[in-house]
């Protein structure tokens, strides 16, 4: 018995040293097989138990179990130790190149600044209860001019160089010279009033408009947003408040507005609306120099507006004795220019990705 016990003791001593010296998990596994495997050292020792008297067996069995437990524990500790060592070694290694570009399969596309500006403008007026309306771009003279108090031979027609449509490329039945590309979004005023048939009318209409003028500062196609508010008791003060609120929302809370008398055949009274310069804050000076954006005036002309002419209300089927209304219009290209600092109109329609991808 003493022999067996000493063999077990020797096994335990050997295992302790071997496990402590094991270099890796593979070595640990070999040691597990060597000490605890079916043909391992412990099994060998226990095979000698058969010769022992029955009374001594429990004592040897007890020691053998203790040795097995100890070796198993040592193996588990050794595994943990090696794992920790490996992890520490991994964590201490050289970092990857984090400056390599992120792996993005498809870079995001970009929305055109004209669309962005149109969406921003529309969203502001949506909050004020304006509904988006639309109308045709190939328009009848009546809606584009006559219904807006611009009869044929009216000199104010010179304010807008008009593209006319070749009648032979239309279906038969149009009067010569009666079809054109709309020169402004204002025909949608009359169309909307006729469509709704009654007040209140509160619409905005963003869209493409056309004038036959093409140079550095004029594009034959550009974009406007038209607004119209008709109801009982609508006043010029409401127009001022609405556009002042819009300007603050679009250009920033400190923006001031200025109304100057002007002339549009379809509004009476009419106004040009200026906002305080978004670049110099209305001071006319930027970094000690003349502000080129507002040409040192401190103001930027951005809107045309006025009280809807009674004749236009009547043409829209609205009783001008009971109702009043205001209308306004703005150029989207200009609004986008001021917001994004774009300095050349032609960039908008060139669709160069180096431009588009900045938005």
């Amino acid at each position: 018995m003493a022999d067996l016990l000493s063999q077990l003791e020797a096994l335990a001593t050997g295992a302790r040293a071997a496990i402590a010296a094991a270099p890796d998990e593979k070595g640990l596994e070999e040691l597990r097989v060597r000490f605890l495997g079916k043909k391992g050292e412990l099994s060998q020792v226990l095979r000698g138990m058969g010769q022992l008297p029955a009374g001594e067996r429990p004592r040897v069995g007890e020691v053998a179990n203790r040795v097995r437990d100890e070796v198993e524990g040592l193996l588990a500790d050794g595994k943990r130790r090696l794992e920790t060592k490996a992890l520490e070694a991994e964590l201490a290694g050289a970092p990857i190149d984090v400056t390599l570009a992120g792996r993005r399969l498809l870079p995001r596309g970009h929305r055109h600044p004209i669309t962005r500006a149109t969406e921003d403008i529309s969203a502001i007026f949506a909050r004020l209860g304006y509904e988006v309306a639309s109308g045709p771009e190939i328009e009848l003279d009546w809606f584009n001019f006559e219904a807006l108090n611009l009869p044929p031979d009216h000199p104010a027609r010179d304010m807008q160089d008009t593209f006319y449509v070749e009648e032979s490329t239309l279906r038969a039945g149009v009067k010569p010279g009666s079809v054109l590309l709309r020169t402004h979004t204002s025909p949608v005023q009359v169309r909307s009033m006729k469509r709704l048939g009654k007040a209140p009318v509160r619409i905005i209409c963003p869209g493409r408009v056309y004038r036959s003028d093409y140079d550095q500062t004029h594009s034959p196609m550009f974009h406007q947003v038209e607004g119209l508010c008709v109801d009982e008791g609508i006043t010029f003060a409401d127009l001022k408040g609405t556009l002042a609120a819009f300007a603050r929302a679009y250009f920033g809370p400190g923006t001031r507005t200025r109304f100057r008398p002007s002339y549009f055949p379809f509004t009476e009274p009419s106004a040009e609306v200026d906002v305080s310069c978004t670049i110099c804050g209305g001071t006319g000076r930027k970094d000690g120099k003349r502000c080129g954006t507002c040409k040192e005036t401190g103001w930027l002309e951005v809107l045309g507006a006025g009280m809807v002419h009674p004749r236009v209300l009547e043409n829209g089927g609205i009783d001008s004795k009971r109702h009043t209304g205001f209308a306004f219009g703005m150029g989207v290209e200009r609004m986008a220019m001021l917001r994004y600092g774009i300095d050349d109109l032609r960039l908008y329609f060139e669709n160069d990705l180096r431009f588009l991808s900045q938005f």
Binding site: L100, A101, V165, L170, P220, A271, E272
Partner: protein
Amino acid sequence: MRISLKWLSEYVALPSPEEVARKLTAVGLEVEAMERTGQGLRGVVAARVLSSEKHPNAEKLSVTRIDRGEGEPLQIVCGAKNYAVGDVVPLATIGTVLPGGAKIEKAKLRGVESFGMLCSARELGLSPDASGLLILPPEVKPGTPIAEALGLEDVLLEVNVTPNRPDCLSHLGIARELAAILGQPVRLPAPKLAEAGGPASDAVKVRIDAPDRCARYAARVVEGVKIGPSPAWLARRLEACGVRSISNVVDATNYVLLELGHPLHAFDLERVAGREIVVRTAHPGERLATLDGKVRTLAPDDLLVADRDRGSALAGVMGGGDSEIAAGTTRVLVESAWFEPSGIRRTSRRHGLKTEASYRFERGADPGMVIPAVDRCAALIAELAGGVVRPGIVDAHPRQNARPEVRLRWRRPAELLGMEVSREDARRILIGLGFEERASDADGATFRVPTWRVDVSIEEDLVEEIVRTLGYDSIPATLPANAVVMPAEPVEAQAISRIRAALEASGFSEAVNFSFVAARALEPFGRSVETGDGSGRALGIALKNPISNDLAVMRTTLVPSLLADLAHDRRQRIEDVRLYEIARTYGTGARPEEAPSAEALQVAGVVAGRRVPVGWAAPGDVVDFYDAKAAVAGVLEALGIDGARFEAPGASWLHPRTSAVVTRGGEVLGDVGELHPRVAQAFELPRGVLAFELRLDALLRAAELVPQYRPFPRLPAVLRDLAVVVDDAVTAASVEGLVREEPLVEAVTLFDVYRGAPLPAGKKNLALAITYRAADRTLTDEEADRVHARIVKRLAAVGAELRT
């Protein structure tokens, strides 16, 4: 309209130029520019020529001694010959920079020193005259700055006069506005007419045959004039306002035009046949040689000022060459008339003739100015060109211009403006602007509109007069009081913003292109619009007056514009391009008198270059059909469109082998695919460009913008893979369709397509992952196996071999 403040100050006392500009802008006469003249001539002074001798070494030069009002006389070498000793001429002293940029320095000319330069009018930037030195009036003292001597120091305002205010197209008109704002009187010019000889009516007769087109024609006769140049002060005033000086008589008419705003015309009375003026419309085919040297064939709608025999002037637009004031003219007929505006405009447009006269007449001249203008002009001619004015005016006046009376209800300003305006203010302002109060009561008053205010006819016009004078700043800012009805976002707008988001997520950037393109850009697309009675076709709706042939036809597809953008980007060495556009295309309307066009929104895109931009982690392969299809699928998904089908081939502008038409429920949504090689060639693009175009209206009909929840089974599924070998022509959709016919199939994903060895040519292997699930029980493996076997059999029936 250019306004000289110096000139203006003759009619009203002016505050500072800045204040004038501010005030005019504040009442609606926007001052767009302010220019100070005579500033560029510092250093140029008047100087007297004391002596002049031939240059010893140069044939064409002289050596002069000059008195410049101070110090010793200066020696100056001069090349001009037009002066005499004793003349006063401009001297540019050393250090002066002339308007042309030349700096005057001490110089040695052919060995003789010169201490300055004597100048011509051109060298001073005053006129194109370079024929010799500018000779100043002899009374100018040497040493006087030239700007002062010539009265050049002035401030010119460029005033933007809106088309409704023809009354402000003159110095008097602007003065009237300023006087009203400043609360000052206007000093009207009072012509001193010295009439002599027989009455004018003995010299000429006037008859108006078209009284609807000419309400009044007044003529004066000035005899014994001598045509010559205008005095410098007058020529300079005209030139300051952009009018060329011609001769004293013609200049007098232009001067009065700029002063009073009324267009006038002067005829050589000797050349008025029959000494008779007839205002009539043109005879059919009648021709007239106008002052610009053109012979014009007139329309019967053109109004003529004629003599007994033929036309003498295109009334209110331009004079005729035959009756023009010429060097030998001695008898002048001065015309002052009132022509009906729209007729003048028609003639002006018909003949492409826009003149100072037509510009004013078509906007509406002041009928009250006909007589004062003719008086002023006749007096001025007599003053400038000598001669005497015959007594009286030959005045044909068949029609009185109506002078509207407009009622203002006292409450109306507040209703329209949201601001109370007192009766006193309303009255004061209107009367200050020349309105006359005719009657008043507790509710309001009636005002007679001044003759020059052709733009005022309704109550709102009076309110505008009041508010622009008070200033728009005095109006408060409020928001409409009525409750806001919250409008729902229209379905179309919702759909568009989802489409944008989907395409941008697929890497597409938005392009915005002109709506008009070149006809040839549309040709490859095989579309057209119905014209005439519906039997005719055109490539697209065309413009009568396009900017150029490249911008002439309204597009029927967005694709050509995007292809041009792509070509542009490629020229800029940008090769990986994904662009989209959402815009209208234009067809013809079936009821053209109400809706001449049928405009439909399209969603189009182009794709070219690498699938993923160059990068360390990018495979670098180029895009193909499936990239474009993925973009389309992304749009369909964003709109909740289920069950769209892709069937080859797509539209004729696409490659027949690599394109598809997209349909749903039998309706065509659009096309997608590789550009047809010939189309690519036409747009100078390489092969392999992908494009798509979808019709928004069709997409909207198929869209389900608000997703509807469908319950999903939570019982476990059985997954099985299946690989089959089929003919190349067998489509993925047909195999997937057969698999789906089994009701227990919940999903099928084709995860691999393989061609090549060991498969024979013309065959491909399709690998499918199939999910089986029963809604009401846990599916057993055995049950799944049975279904799977049925699928294999079904596929075998169409020639698919199971691959093991």
